[in-house]
Amino acid sequence: MATLRERLVGQRYVVSPSIWAEVRKSCRDELKILYGGGPFDDATWTKLDTFGRREVFEASKLNPAMRDLFRVHGPGLRLEGARGGELLVAFFLRPRAASLRRRLEDTLRQARP
């Protein structure tokens, strides 16, 4: 019998007119959601900083064509994406996955209405 989370894999929904979401299978016991659209610019990432500590990998210093890689590690979640990129990958941990997902999507709606 598939779990609810397994049944949700592949579900796609709209977060805001500029952002869609798709539930993916995680390698571990996490809820993994891809957020596409955006773009997820500096202003968006500043709002995402409220979720935890941001690590920055300054890839643009290696080649200006590359984008800086951001990772936000917070209690119960991990967010990954590129500065100005069109993909945000979110990993939500039990037991707060549902509430953190709602909070993240509220934040994204405010940042990219």
Partner: protein, 400 residues
């Protein structure tokens, strides 16, 4: 942090002289299942565990490791957390939390009816041998793949007297000149490799390497070599040439699984979005971008020799960890031996030209079946192999 030595001229990385390569749980668990599924013909637990003892003991001795360093190495490589505190010269108990193999197995195949942490058992046996300079044997008593909260191992004195050393970096030869088509004018391979080298790819406090959207390990290259080639030989010794052929097909399939999930996961990751995708100008650049990332994984030097869009890929690998290891362990071969390279080549073409990886599809079992079974999908063959005397290993992927 235990130092990892980069060998940029060889596209390899070592710890205490042992080569290490990145692979994710899809490959690790599938390769293991390929072998355990043939337990009627081969001693799968022995094969999987003894190889682990050999590679880990060689490395622990090279590091002059004590108990805490053995535990730290396990976590740094992404295998989880290991507690060896209850071990003594009389044996005892060891516990692994968040075992990569157990959790990876559950994620990929669901609950298991029996323990699956053969590599971990071998790691613990090697640590016990290192710490107490005596033979031990290890049995997994509880496994997270079966639903236990942690994996528990019973360590008993006794076991095989001598443990063979590994071949280290193996047999290496100078790299030939790279093919003219090796890199794309748009994709800066050097910057991608430098970026990957700068990413935090050591296990975190939980012994996890979360990167490229997959659950990674910095595994022992010679572990893959020993289990793959011994499995191949054991199948032939037990059931003849047909069984050996079946083994090789399965090992190439493991390479395809690796490509589908690891390459596919990488191409759908935040890292790809940041480091590679901004440089991509064409569909073919996805092939070049992926080979550039592969060249940061410690697998040797991958080069595109020629690429006919949607039709044919010729790929060259210099100093593949497979050929390095095979030559050093078994010597020359009468047939090609780079099974991962073969599956990786077809997998890469199928991802780009069959699965439309550019549209970021979910990497599900259904998509795997569709990509590698339906229609005129790509198949690859190794047309030249260093183990057969060639200067490089050369692969051709074409549509069926």
């Amino acid at each position: 942090m235990i130092p990892v030595d980069a060998h940029p001229d060889r596209f390899l990385a070592t710890i205490a002289g042992e080569p290490h390569v990145f692979h994710c749980h899809h490959y690790n668990c599938f390769l293991q299942k390929v072998i355990t599924d043939q337990s009627a013909l081969v001693d799968a637990p022995g094969l999987l565990t003894e190889a682990a003892v050999e590679v880990v003991l060689t490395e622990l001795d090279g590091l002059s490791a004590d108990r805490s360093m053995a535990q730290a190495l396990f976590a740094q490589l992404g295998f989880g957390q290991l507690d060896l505190s209850a071990l003594s010269a009389a044996g005892g108990r060891a516990v692994a939390s968040g075992s990569h193999y157990a959790l990876g197995f559950r994620s990929k195949f669901g609950s298991s009816g029996e323990p699956v942490c053969f590599f971990v058992a071998g790691f613990i046996e090697a640590a016990a041998r290192r710490l107490f300079r005596a033979p031990f044997s290890v049995r997994e008593r509880a496994c997270a793949a079966m639903g236990a909260p942690r994996c528990e191992f019973e360590v008993s004195p006794g076991g095989r007297d001598a443990v063979p050393r590994t071949p280290g970096l193996g047999q290496q030869t100078p790299f030939p000149v790279r093919p003219g088509a090796a890199v794309s004018p748009h994709v800066d391979e050097g910057a991608i490799i430098a970026a990957c080298a700068g990413l935090p790819l050591a296990g975190n406090a939980e012994g996890r390497v979360d990167a490229f959207g997959v659950s990674l390990t910095r595994h022992f290259a010679n572990y893959y070599n020993l289990v793959s080639y011994r499995f191949d030989r054991a199948m032939e010794a037990t059931a003849g040439e047909a069984a050996a052929l079946a083994a090789r097909i399965l090992l190439v399939e493991a390479g395809q699984v690796c490509a589908f999930h690891t390459f596919g996961g990488i191409m759908e990751s935040a890292e790809w979005e940041a480091l590679v995708k901004p440089m991509i100008r064409s569909t073919e650049d996805w092939v070049y971008g992926m080979t550039a990332v592969v060249n940061a994984l410690g697998w040797g030097r991958w080069s595109v020799a020629s690429l006919e869009p949607g039709r044919r890929l010729e790929l060259v690998i210099d100093g593949s960890y497979e050929s390095n290891g095979y030559l050093a362990i078994f010597g020359a071969s009468a047939s090609p031996r780079c099974y991962l390279g073969t599956g990786g080549t077809s997998g890469l073409m199928n991802l780009v030209y069959q699965a439309d990886i550019m549209s970021r599809p979910p990497l599900t079992p259904a998509l795997y079946e569709k990509t590698f079974r339906d229609g005129s999908f790509f198949v690859a063959r190794e047309v030249e192999c260093r183990t057969m005397g060639a200067a490089s290993c050369r692969f051709v992927a074409e549509r069926l």
